[in-house]
């Protein structure tokens, strides 16, 4: 009999990456690699760099980000992203949704003794 499959956290990260990316950019405008680095140092080292680049691309196309080009010392100009007004609104709404969803999942995964004995 084989061992139980291990939990794959990548699906959780995929769902949260939009909000995480927007939250990082809400603090300060930044470019692709710097956003990825801040996601890693913020406690999500398993997020792949290319996923951050693709997410930035998608959020920008959706009108949630603004962008500007700035010179780089190491190559072609860099694209710096910031939050658009729609992006800020999306982030605020997303934060509320995340908190309520997280609370519900916490309750389901780790019910208190009182609730568990109901």
């Amino acid at each position: 009999m084989g061992s139980a499959p291990s939990f794959d956290a990548s699906q959780l990260l995929k769902g949260a990456l939009d909000l995480v990316t927007l939250a990082v950019l809400a603090e300060e405008e930044s470019y692709g690699y710097e956003v990825a680095r801040r996601v890693w140092t913020g406690g999500l080292p398993d997020v792949r760099e290319a996923s951050v680049y693709g997410t930035l691309n998608r959020l920008y196309r959706a009108g949630l980000l603004t962008s500007r080009m700035a010179p780089s010392v190491s190559g072609p100009d860099r694209k710096y992203y910031g939050l658009s007004p729609q992006g800020r609104e999306y982030l605020d709404h997303g934060r509320q949704q995340w908190k309520s969803t997280r609370n519900a999942i916490d309750q389901l995964l780790d019910p208190s003794p009182a609730e568990g004995s109901r």
């Binding site: 995929k14 990456l17 470019y31 692709g32 690699y33 792949r48 760099e49 290319a50 996923s51 951050v52 680049y53 693709g54 997410t55 930035l56 691309n57 998608r58 196309r61 010179p71 780089s72 010392v73 190491s74 190559g75 072609p76 860099r78 694209k79």
Partner: protein, 215 residues
């Protein structure tokens, strides 16, 4: 600041392959998606192995970019040309990769040749007595019945239009529905047949003479 041309050869090769895996996207979308990767690859010290350690194989990176950016997956064409499928399946082989990338990069040239040949095939089928000469002379004779100085420029314009149309068609082919892509493959076959069946179109007159194709 370095110029875009300053990227090392292995970086360019890697990027070419990533772009190839994203070839179904519009050029601007593809460039936008791969720009941060290009920036990072220029900054990374090391060789091809270091790049793959950081980003994975080109196909994997392209798939991740595509997925996270919300672009649809570039599904292999059902019933596509066996040769192209064979090449795709080997495009990450370390030895074959540069060769395959180069061969696939020549496709725009083939699209141009295809337009030229298909037009010639159509015209030859309409006037079979006129095909035994090389192409420029052929088109000149087909279209230019007026006398100088009021020459008819159709003999230049029509072949150029056919070439341009074929190039545009080639660029759009990956985004066409399967039935339309099958029609494009049929067009390729017609062009190859025309190339092989009527070499006097594309072979200069002297070459055709020595090859015994023209009396």
């Amino acid at each position: 600041m370095t110029t875009p041309d300053a990227a090392p050869a292995h970086v360019r090769t890697y990027l070419d392959e990533v772009r190839h895996h994203l070839r179904d996207l519009a050029p601007d979308d593809r460039a936008e998606l791969t720009a941060p990767v290009e920036q990072r690859l220029r900054e990374l010290a090391g060789g091809p192995a270091d790049i793959e350690r950081q980003f994975g194989r080109p196909a994997e990176l392209a798939a991740e970019l595509r997925s996270s950016a919300g672009y649809p997956y570039d599904a292999p064409m059902p019933g596509g040309p066996p040769l192209l499928d064979w090449l795709r399946n080997r495009s990450d082989h370390p030895v074959a990769r540069p060769v395959i990338t180069y061969v696939l990069s020549l496709r725009p040239a083939w699209w141009a040749v295809r337009g030229y040949l298909v037009l010639g095939g159509v015209l030859a089928s309409l006037g079979s007595q006129k095909y035994r000469m090389h192409t420029i002379g052929y088109y000149n004779q087909v279209f230019d019945s007026s006398t100088p100085p009021h020459g008819n420029v159709l003999w230049v314009v029509v072949p150029l239009a056919a070439i341009l149309a074929s190039i545009v068609l080639g660029a759009l082919t990956p985004r066409l529905p399967p039935a339309a892509r099958a029609a494009v493959i049929a067009l390729d076959v017609v062009a190859v047949v025309a190339l092989l069946a009527f070499p006097t179109w594309w072979m200069p007159p002297a070459g055709a003479y020595f090859a015994g194709l023209v009396n």
